[in-house]
């Protein structure tokens, strides 16, 4: 006897009718092709089914075991305001229950939304072409490096140590496939050491990879880095925070060949690190080498404007083992979320939000300086900066939690600086919260 499940519509009668149509006596007859020796004996050893109301209690209980506190933590994922309209629009099930838009006649909504997303990414980055999304900003960066290797037919990439540690870690994993070299460029305090970089970049360098603002919040001078890359014919790959591009010069205007990053700051919940949404933008000359889906505009027989997946000759389902990337599923729904968020913010809202971030971080930084905390950024920064503490960050974090705050990122494990904390201040933090946080911090370390 089987139990009834809300997602399984077959009644005993249905089952009987279908089996009889198939001239079979039992469901088991349909599995007669599975050798007996590989058949599972007994049930899967997983917990029993739970009715919805019981499951709700359990899931709420699990969610409650996670602390949602005011955050001064960023390091690649940020607590930003998400307009309510974003959640409502991506909850239209015509969007979220659809597959990749293979049938354009019944997927015009998704296709147009992605075409608009691509346009917004081009606008932010100052690039010519953007794809429909990547898994996240980190994997997008690794794909950009692989593109540069394939395009230039060179053997190494040079990545700044001021690029996110996870980006660099994933890049190392990815590079082990095609087996190209990943060299790290040294730091000069809080930014890439340009003198050292000049010596490191050579005729075998496919690309120079930097982050903008970098992992420490500082703003790299892309113009100078472009000169170093271009002198050796290397591409410039920039990983950029899309919110910061509301006030920072577009990387495309400063010579970037590929711009990648994560749209998370614009409309996507932190969600313990995912799903977020990588973006990938290039100059026109690299258009036919972009990984992933691209939506293009075209017309039907009557001349009506419509949208289709295009330039598919690049992709795995056509090229198979000749494809440059294996990406198939992407993060389309989150690309939609960020497009809705960017549309809500608009031209002025994006800039206003970016400026608020810079101002709040600036305020927090000055207040810490007044209280004699050394700040390690020598270059201008966006919404994050590094503070030197008199004791290990791990100790401070625990005391901050007791006081009701989530502190900054511990630079110990990745940079060997256990007393340095990377602090992020977004528009979500009020002046009162910032004051209270710093007062608490002072109390903990003094």
């Amino acid at each position: 006897m089987t139990s009834t499940f809300q997602y399984l519509p077959d009644t005993d009668q249905d089952q009987k009718e279908m089996l009889s149509f198939l001239n079979l006596s039992s469901i088991e007859d349909l599995f007669s092709d599975m050798p007996e020796s590989i058949r599972l004996q007994g049930e899967l050893a997983i917990p029993k089914a739970m009715p919805e109301p019981v499951l709700w209690k359990k899931m709420k209980g699990m969610a409650r075991r996670n602390a949602e506190l005011p955050l001064f933590l960023g390091a690649g994922t940020y607590d930003h305001f998400i307009p309510s309209v974003v959640g409502h629009m991506i909850s239209r099930s015509e969007f979220y229950t659809a597959y990749t838009p293979y049938q354009p006649e019944i997927s015009q909504g998704e296709l147009q939304a992605i075409f608009e997303f691509q346009t917004m990414v081009c606008e932010l980055t100052g690039m010519d072409v953007a794809n429909s999304s990547m898994y996240d900003g980190f994997t997008a960066l690794a794909e950009a490096a692989s593109l540069a290797i394939a395009h230039t037919k060179r053997t190494k990439v040079v990545v700044s140590r001021a690029v996110h540690p996870e980006s660099r870690a994933i890049l190392q994993t990815v590079a082990a496939g095609p087996d190209y070299a990943v060299e790290e460029a040294a730091l000069s305090t809080d930014i890439t050491d340009l003198e050292a970089l000049t010596k490191q970049v050579d005729s075998q360098t496919a690309a120079v990879i930097v982050q903008y603002p970098n992992f420490f919040g500082s703003i790299e001078d892309l113009q100078e880095i472009k000169k170093i890359a271009a002198a050796q014919g290397a591409l410039l790959i920039v990983s950029a925070n899309p919110l910061a591009l509301g006030l920072l010069q577009a990387p495309g205007k400063l010579g970037a060949d590929i711009v990648v990053g994560d749209m998370q700051p614009l409309g996507i919940p932190m969600a313990f690190g995912g799903p977020h949404c990588g973006y990938f933008a290039v100059t026109k000359s690299l258009m036919r080498k972009v990984p992933g889906r691209i939506v293009g505009q075209t017309t039907d027989a009557d001349g009506n404007r419509g949208f289709v997946l295009t330039l598919q000759a690049r992709e795995q389902h056509i090229r198979r083992d000749k494809a440059m990337s294996n990406i198939c599923s992407n993060q389309a729904l989150n690309a939609l979320a960020s497009a809705v968020c960017m549309s809500a913010l608009g031209k002025t809202g994006l800039r206003e939000m970016a400026v608020l971030n810079l101002e709040k971080a600036d305020y927090a930084c000055r207040l810490l300086q007044q209280k004699s905390f050394p700040i390690l950024n020598e270059s201008p920064f966006f919404n994050e900066f590094v503070v030197q503490l008199p004791k290990p960050v791990t100790d401070v974090q625990n005391a901050l939690i007791d006081a009701g705050f989530i502190g900054g990122f511990d630079l110990g494990p990745d940079y060997g600086e256990p007393n340095r904390m990377l602090i992020a201040v977004t528009e979500q933090r009020t002046k009162e919260e910032i004051d209270a946080f710093i007062q608490t911090l002072e109390g903990i370390v003094r």
Binding site: T2, S3, Y7, D10, E17, I27, R39, L44, I46, K48, M50, R65, E68, T77, V85, R92, E94, Y96, Y99, Y102, Q103, E105, I106, Q112, F115, E116, D128, Y135, D136, S146, A169, A176, L248, Q249, L254, A271, F272, G273, P275, M287, G296, T298, T299, D300, G303, L311, Q316, R320, D321, N326, C328, S329, N330, L333, S343, G346, K347, L350, D362, N398
Partner: protein, 488 residues
């Protein structure tokens, strides 16, 4: 449907906004004093300026031009377009899951880590593997992760194996993943019965064989009955067996890849485990492995030590990180919720119903279309449009005609080894009435091909737009809106 055709940029008017931001409560900063002039943006990105209602109407209008599972039957083969339960969506949105930061101290995210740890354990049981990583964001990334572990495994044994075997019916991602992982691909032909040609396979297996990638049931919906022999051929040569879990909806609770002899498995949570496809993503592609491959799993690993859940970042033989943080957490929450909803009995019924539905629909359609294989189907089946092609109507035309009846067409022209292929996966969540109605429409279209082919050739007739010129889109790519572009 409506005639709304504007882009969001075209309804934009300077001065409108769709949001309200907090007022400045700290000192203003003079940007030109803080930043060098060439790094300050002088021209704002040209984002749309619309009111909130305009925004809502725009995206609502777009959604009305989109077909999802909630709109109607979606028998897209190999994609498992089953119902996406609503509780999954609501649970993933709980603040305690959606508003937590990935770098919060472990003590503040014990609920999230417990969920991930339990999910790892459940998926290990479901696949018959010894350990699972949840990091990969999609099936293709899972494949590549698995293949990087294959590479590390052989290297650790002092071997450099370069060859990955892939059947001709495999998903395109299989060979592409092999290439990205630095292997070369050798394609193994199928027999006329639609199964891996074991004799042909043996000819290609040698001490350079790193792995065989296999989907079972395969993309024709047929169970590879010789799987144990295939496994021993590969294993005897020192190779590994990789299971592409795209078709796992056929085997839940009936068998496991582990029992079939596989060493590595990826699952597509957005197929088998009901997380929505989102119009292309995000998905999740967890990877399970047998014990001998555990040292190579990506880091960080989620482990339970003394009753607490911790992130282990230190594993010397690990292939490293494959994805930011811990995977697509929000998707993992949905899959966990589903697995708890169904339990062992429910998951077994899922596969039983999925297989029953596929065979029922296949038999209903067999009198009207060429059905190339005799073996019982699993969760999906293929038909060939070769009979209709002789009458001048292609599978593409029949697929477009299906749109007129409110159905998403099956996967077409895949697998590549079936002429004019239609690949149909009805899933377990559809009712018998839906299957019967769809069969009636397919039969009607088969009749139209004979009696009124023009109706099929000119389809679709009822959609918001006709067939689009894809050649033009690729030859002269327009991939973004430009202000100066003349409106069409």
């Amino acid at each position: 449907m409506n005639a709304y055709t504007d882009l969001i940029f075209e309804i934009s008017r300077p001065g409108r906004t769709g949001c309200s931001l907090p007022e400045r409560d700290v000192d203003a900063v003079n940007l030109s004093k803080k930043l060098p002039a060439h790094l300050i943006r002088e021209e704002a990105p040209d984002l749309p300026e619309v009111s909130e209602l305009q925004l809502v109407r725009h995206y609502t209008a777009l959604s009305n031009k989109n077909h999802g599972v909630d709109n109607g039957f979606y028998p897209l083969g190999s994609c498992t377009m089953k119902y996406n339960p609503k509780i999954n969506e609501d649970v993933a949105k709980l603040d305690g899951f959606s508003r937590i930061h990935p770098y919060q101290p472990e003590a503040t995210v014990q609920g999230a880590l417990a969920l991930l740890h339990e999910l790892q354990e459940d998926l290990a049981v479901i696949t018959g593997m010894d350990a699972v990583t949840l990091q990969p964001s999609a099936g293709a990334q899972g494949e590549w992760t698995g293949l990087m572990m294959v590479k590390a495994y052989h290297q650790q044994r002092g071997e450099k194996r370069t060859k990955v075997l892939v059947p001709d019916s495999a998903h395109g991602t299989n060979p592409a993943s092999a290439t990205v992982a630095g292997f070369r691909t050798v394609t193994i032909p199928s027999t006329k019965n639609g199964l891996v040609d074991v004799e042909e396979l043996k000819k290609h297996v040698d001490d350079d064989t790193a792995a065989l990638m296999l989907t079972n049931p395969n993309t024709l919906g047929l169970f590879e009955k010789d799987i144990l022999e295939i496994a021993s051929v590969i294993h005897e040569a020192g190779g590994l067996l990789y299971y592409d879990g795209a078709n796992a909806n056929a085997i839940l609770g009936k068998t496991t890849p582990g029992k079939m002899g596989f060493d590595i498995v990826h699952l597509n949570l957005h197929k088998t485990f009901t997380t929505p496809h989102g119009g292309g993503g995000p998905g999740a592609g967890p990877v399970g492995v047998k014990e001998k491959l555990i040292p190579f799993l990506p880091v960080p690993r989620i482990e339970k030590r003394n009753g607490r859940f911790v992130l282990n970042r230190e594993e010397p033989l690990s292939i490293g990180r494959v994805k930011g943080y811990y995977g697509n957490f929000g998707i993992l929450v949905r899959a966990y919720t589903y697995i708890r909803t169904m339990g062992p009995d429910g998951l077994r019924q899922v596969s039983e119903s999925a297989v029953l539905h596929a065979n029922y629909l296949r038999k209903k359609l067999e009198p009207y279309f060429v059905s190339p294989y005799e073996q019982v189907s699993k969760h999906e089946f293929v038909l060939s449009g070769s009979r209709q092609k002789k009458l001048g109507v292609r599978t593409l035309d029949m697929a477009k005609r299906l749109l007129d009846f409110g159905y998403h067409p099956p996967t077409i022209y895949f697998p590549l080894n079936v002429e004019e292929c239609l690949m149909i996966e009805p899933t377990e969540t559809e009712s018998k009435e839906t299957l019967d109605a769809f069969a009636d429409v397919m039969i009607r279209i088969a009749r139209e091909v004979e009696e009124d082919p023009e109706t099929v050739l000119n389809a679709p007739h009822t959609t918001v737009i006709g067939r689009l010129d894809e050649v033009k889109a690729a030859r002269k790519p327009v991939v973004r809106w430009e202000r100066e572009t003349v409106r069409l």
